[in-house]
């Protein structure tokens, strides 16, 4: 068998074996959500706390209210931040007490992957509230992106 045929049959086998490629499928979320855990401060410790009957919704300009939490007992909430503005506002109501949580942040977009496209990365600047429900806060992690890790949390809210 000639040198030509031998070498090209080898090439044919190499290319044939190497031609099967996997196609990417997106299995990642593109929503960036802030994880806020509820806490109670004691004289010498801080413990997790549960808020019963919590209602939560975002203040969306030009869009109807849409509940994120509907009268549930919760220890933490996940807040989708507003990619259109530098402030995200949420109303929290439990019983007769209500508070408006205002999160001031910066925004930048980034590519999650070629298949999943883009998402927004937020950096928390300041937190504001009126104090009727939330007593104090602590920022644990200023950066929020779409790649939420296990047990990741960004904000502690004290009640």
């Amino acid at each position: 068998m000639s040198f030509y045929r031998t070498t090209h049959i080898i090439l044919f086998l190499v290319i044939s074996l190497g031609s099967c490629t996997t196609q990417d499928v997106c299995d990642e979320d593109s929503q960036s959500e802030l994880v806020a855990r509820f806490k109670t401060r004691h004289p010498e410790s801080v413990t997790d706390t549960t808020i019963s009957g919590l209602y939560l919704y975002g203040i969306r300009k030009g869009l109807p209210d849409s509940l994120l939490v509907d009268s549930l007992p919760v220890q933490q909430i996940m807040l989708p931040l507003d990619p259109h503005h530098d402030t995200s506002q949420f109303v929290m109501r439990a019983g007769s007490l209500a508070d408006t949580l205002q999160i001031v942040h910066s925004r930048e977009f980034y590519m999650i992957s070629y298949t999943c496209g883009f998402a927004t990365r937020f950096t928390i600047d300041t937190i504001h509230y009126n104090g009727r429900l939330i007593h104090e806060h602590e920022i644990i992690n200023h950066t929020i992106d779409a790649e939420l890790k296990l047990n990741e949390e960004h904000l502690w809210l004290y009640f």
Partner: protein
């Protein structure tokens, strides 16, 4: 999911190339010819059919300057243009590879110039990439469309190359090479990883495989 259509297409194309260029032995000549050899990568044209969004061309030049040692220069252009539901993307630019091949095949017949080579390349590319009509989906606050983002970039990589060249007609060669590529530049763009680094491949991978199937003509300048 396996990309079987690409596999079938490339296999048929390769068989076609082999059948189109049957080997013809030529009369032995006791003089061995030397000169620059220029080549064009035919596999680049196959990509246009297998993946129409990606176009490119690559040319090479080499010459045996010392026994079995071939310095190599490769020049090319590569671009990709794709529209997805989430964004439109383009990337393109020229690339240059410099290196050398070493022929492992012993010369038993001075009239034959077949070679089996191993070698290396240093690759560099200057390219730009752009994303337009970027859609960020948001179920709660509403979707957002960003107009465009672009960046001019430079990429560097190394290649280990193994290949074969066969002289099918006097001074005409067909040859193929397989390449293992190692990306040196890791952080090309902080926001978008290039989908295509011209001459290298996907920017999402620090290592890549490549192959060429080329046709060459050697300008027979010297005989000895």
């Amino acid at each position: 999911m396996k990309n079987t259509s690409g596999y079938i297409f490339r296999s048929i194309l390769l068989l076609g190339i082999i059948l189109l260029f049957p080997y013809h032995g030529h009369a032995q000549d006791t003089l061995r010819t030397y000169g620059p050899r220029i080549g064009i990568d035919l596999a680049r044209f196959a990509y246009i059919f297998a993946k129409p969004s990606e176009v490119g061309a690559a040319f090479s030049a080499d010459m045996e300057i010392y026994e079995n040692i071939y310095p190599v220069l490769e020049l090319g252009y590569n671009s990709i243009s794709e529209q997805t539901e989430l964004f439109d993307y383009t990337s393109g630019g020229t690339f240059l590879r410099l290196g050398a091949d070493y022929n492992l095949l012993p010369v038993t017949d001075r009239s034959l110039h077949h070679s089996i080579t191993v070698g290396f390349r240093y690759g560099i590319t200057a390219f730009s990439h752009h994303a337009d009509q970027i859609l960020i989906t948001d179920d709660y606050w509403g979707n957002m469309v960003l107009e465009s983002y672009g960046n001019n970039l430079t990429g560097h990589w190394l290649e280990l190359v193994g290949g074969v060249k066969t002289e099918v007609l006097s001074n005409f060669f067909l040859g193929w090479s397989v390449r293992y590529k190692i990306l040196i530049t890791n952080h090309l763009d902080p926001l978008i990883t290039p989908q295509l680094i011209p001459g290298y491949g996907r920017g999402t991978a620090d290592r890549a495989f490549g192959f060429t199937y080329s046709m060459f003509y050697k300008i027979p300048l010297f005989k000895k």
